[in-house]
Amino acid sequence: MSNPGAVIAILLACGLTAVAASQPATSRVSAVPEGGIPVTDEETRRACGSCHATDDKHIMTRISHRRASPENWELTLRRMMSLNNVNLAPEAARRILKYLSNQHGLAPEEARPAMFDAERRLIEYSYKADADVQQLCSTCHSMGRVLNERRTREEWSLLLAMHRYYYPLIDGSSGGFRRSGGGGGSANAQARRSAARQEEGGERRPPDNRQPFERAGDHLADAFPLRSEAWTTWSAAMRAPRLDGRWTLVGHQLGKGRVFGEVVIAPDPDSPDSFVTRGQMTYARTGESVARSGRAIVYTGFQWRGRSSGPQDASPTWSEVMLVERSGSEMSGRWFTGDHAETGIDITLRRVSSDPVVAGTDLAALRAPASGQRLRIFGANLPPNPAVTDVDLGHGIRVTRLVSATPQVLTVEVDVAADARPGPRDVSVAGFTTSAPLVVYARMDAIRVVPRSGMARLGGAAMEPRLEQFEARGISYGADGRPATADDLDLGPVEARWSLEEYTATFKDDDVQFVGELGQDGLFTPAVDGPNPKRSGNRNNVGDVWVVATFAPDGGGAARPLRGRAHLLVTVPIYMDWSPRQVGQ
């Protein structure tokens, strides 16, 4: 294969198609010997050996001294193909990716804190261990990419050198790898270190004169070393995933609410550690039902990477990123789609046996007092004709009528007593219980708009836009009546009225007139990219606005409608995208 683009396109399928039977996840497991991780796969040695020297113990330069997530290994393979003249057939690239992810991978404890990166979540991540390192790295890329790496000290140093080679400007003020003057790190960092020394008793120590990138290298080598107890344990315990069977699906999609369903997973007979899936899910609020089928591969024994689509050819493909728990009976993560992966469902799958499973309820909250409140309970293997006494929602809630029953959904009517104690409630059906799918509350005191800080990217002209979905959720202040305390209750999504307001960050920019449109479903669609002649200085349509939700709860006691807001930053497109989707294209 001489066309890297074709290789990349096929690699993009997350290695979901057949991977040769010679590479099961459990074929060779190893901890990390002193000299590094031997590269035991002949094909990997052959593909990489023109540049990476191998010794008689199969220790390869660079590769043997690194562990990483599948996404990070994929980035490396892409870089090797696009910049270093590595030619790999797609099938070979997938096999090598799988080998490296399995044998030079991460343990679940190492991968879990950085799952947001593979899940493509837009979050405000704060790396508390070292603010300077976070500043240094996240100026250009997600901190998640760093958290998904394990290297020796020398390897971290070489990685930083590679950054300086390809992006020389990072040595200066734009990247901050080096700074003029004595002492590494920012003035704040130096002040902090100075203060810390004083707190330690005013001891006089020599100043830390390392450059910022040297400090970062030292920190990363200590915080994310190649050798770890977690990897030693996991690499010994790692086994081929046995995930075939029925799984209940519980999820939440911003703006659309709770979703329930079932997924049937079957092994792919042609490919170890790979699976085919069939699923059906229903949005509880609207009743919309969605069928999906797909394929997935599990890296390192626990990292599910899948793709699924609907029955229609035009239906969007969703990526599936989940972490399989050690029990093998639960996995959770995010399924997502969109040009910027901005549309997604938080998903949990739980294995179904012959017992009933209570997955959750359509309502997130029951107000007290209330009568004749209809409630749907979703699950699997639910009893066909339960008595009302088989359904238990705790003190003060009485099930008055069974409206309908299927193995997947029970519909009941309940009365909530005035003295029903506010707080989370378990739901039990015939003795099978799920924990706290809903809360009981007395009054809705506020609404909260999530995400609290959103980001959209202009698009539609030259680049693809990044949309942002908002959701308004009811809040009860609980027994103490005070906001932001431990007894506050999240009452779930409410049908709010949406509007935009100016968030004045600079003078006279009138962002609200230009940034885009907010639909009454809470979905923000940004304006087009490119200069706008109607703005001073031909500026583009970027800006800051408040996303405002207004909601009047029925009989909730609020003297006036409740109002909540969130900050939305509308920014420029990603003109240079270094994410896996784009590298080498």
Binding site: C51, H52, A53, T61, R62, L158, A161, M162, R164, Y165, P168, D171, G172, R178, R179, S180, A505, T506, F507, D509, S536, G537
Partner: protein
């Protein structure tokens, strides 16, 4: 606040708005030549009086990213956008005298700063090499090197004074070329036969009771080669008041030959750029933070800031004074130069360039432009007026 300041502010508040048509007589900035480099590979030459583009110098090495004007105003020294190429431009002939790079094979040498000696025989450059090996890269140290300006040959690597490697350095030769100054809060002085340090001048504690001083010289092309007299520098400094701990801003006039510095404070420290006017009596400043754009005027004789006025600036911008000191030029980024009246800060007009600006902007008085003997270079400029 003085009455004069109030008048200035009132006037500016009324007038400082780009786009307003003006019926007043056209104010001229002088009869100089304006040089500015731009995308993709040009230096545009403009007639200051008319604002017309009257010539173009083609740059051979690519996008001119940084540009320095020699003290005798006959050469431009250009570092391209990759920081690997140096190009020497003969201004009078509008042609390239030499272009070269130090990179070769798998070794990339990036040039961070450059200063040519007054005779144009050699230059001292600040470099860092990055070597790509089979499975890794090696980043070399920051080095001061002397190169031959004819062929780019490295003549020597100059040892760092006291072996203290620096990431950035401002370089300046004495007018006779016998000394090389490494400018910083501590100025190192090297003779240019063997490039050995012969003197040093620590500006950080100039006088008892003044406090800690820091000086900025602006990087390659950042020194004012037009308005400062040879061997002298005028720049801003900040000082930490040792009694109250306040950070104060001031202006320093540095006579490098006499090793004399005249410094006085002007007020609280602020992020204000500094542009000396040709008469050396005034200077202008530009405060540019998003949503807060101000012109400042410094009276260097009376040692005070005489006005600070809001205007509709740009999120990124730089300032130059016209050759007669009457106009202020706002440029960067983009393809336009906005012209303001330096007395009232009134917006006058905008020059639209043929492309986006990528380099420093030089306002060169017609006498002395392009030739070392002061005959002027306009006659040698190729007509190109692409307005």
């Amino acid at each position: 606040m003085t009455a004069r300041v109030l008048v200035a502010i009132t006037c500016a508040a009324l007038c400082a708005a780009p786009g307003r048509a003006q019926n007043a007589p056209r104010l001229s900035g002088g009869d100089g030549l304006l040089y500015i480099g731009g995308y993709p590979n040009h230096i545009w030459i403009l007639d200051e009086a008319s604002g017309n583009t009257i010539g173009t110098i083609q740059v051979k090495s690519g996008i001119p990213r940084r540009m320095g004007l020699s003290r005798d105003r006959t050469r431009f020294y250009i570092i391209d956008a990759t920081s690997e190429f140096i190009e020497v431009i003969d201004i009078a002939a509008s042609s390239t005298l030499a272009t070269f790079r130090l990179s070769a094979g798998n070794r990339r040498v990036r040039i961070n700063s450059l200063e040519a000696d007054p005779s144009h025989r050699y230059a001292v450059i600040l470099t860092r090499a990055a070597t790509r090996l089979r499975d890794r890269v090696e980043i070399g140290p920051s080095e001061l090197q002397q190169i031959d300006l004819k062929d780019g040959r490295v003549l020597r690597t100059i040892p760092w004074p006291d072996a203290q490697e620096q990431d950035s350095v401002n370089l300046m030769f004495s007018p006779d070329g016998k000394l090389l100054y490494l400018l910083g809060t501590e100025i190192r002085i090297l003779e240019t036969e063997t490039f050995t340090q012969v003197d040093r001048w620590d500006l950080s504690s100039l006088e008892e009771g003044l406090g800690q001083v820091s000086v900025s010289f602006g990087g390659f092309g950042g020194l004012d080669t037009i308005n400062d007299e040879p061997g002298t520098l005028t720049t801003t400094m900040t000082v930490q008041d040792p009694v109250h701990g306040r950070r104060l801003m001031g202006v320093a006039r540095i006579d490098l030959a006499a090793k004399h510095l005249n410094f006085y404070t002007l007020g609280p420290a602020a992020g204000v750029s500094f542009a000396l006017a040709p008469d050396h009596k005034r200077a202008y400043g530009l405060e540019s933070s998003v949503g807060r754009y101000q012109f400042w005027t410094f009276d260097l004789d009376k040692r005070r800031v005489v006005s600070r006025v809001e205007f509709e600036g740009r999120p990124r911008m730089s300032l130059k004074t016209s050759s007669n000191g009457r106009l202020l030029y706002i440029y960067n980024a983009g393809e336009t130069i906005d012209i303001y009246d330096g007395a009232s800060y009134r917006y006058l007009r905008t020059i639209v360039l043929p492309g986006d600006v990528t380099t420093q902007f030089y306002v060169v008085p017609r006498a002395g432009a392009g030739t070392s003997d002061g005959r002027g270079g306009a006659a040698a400029v190729r007509p190109g007026g692409r307005r």
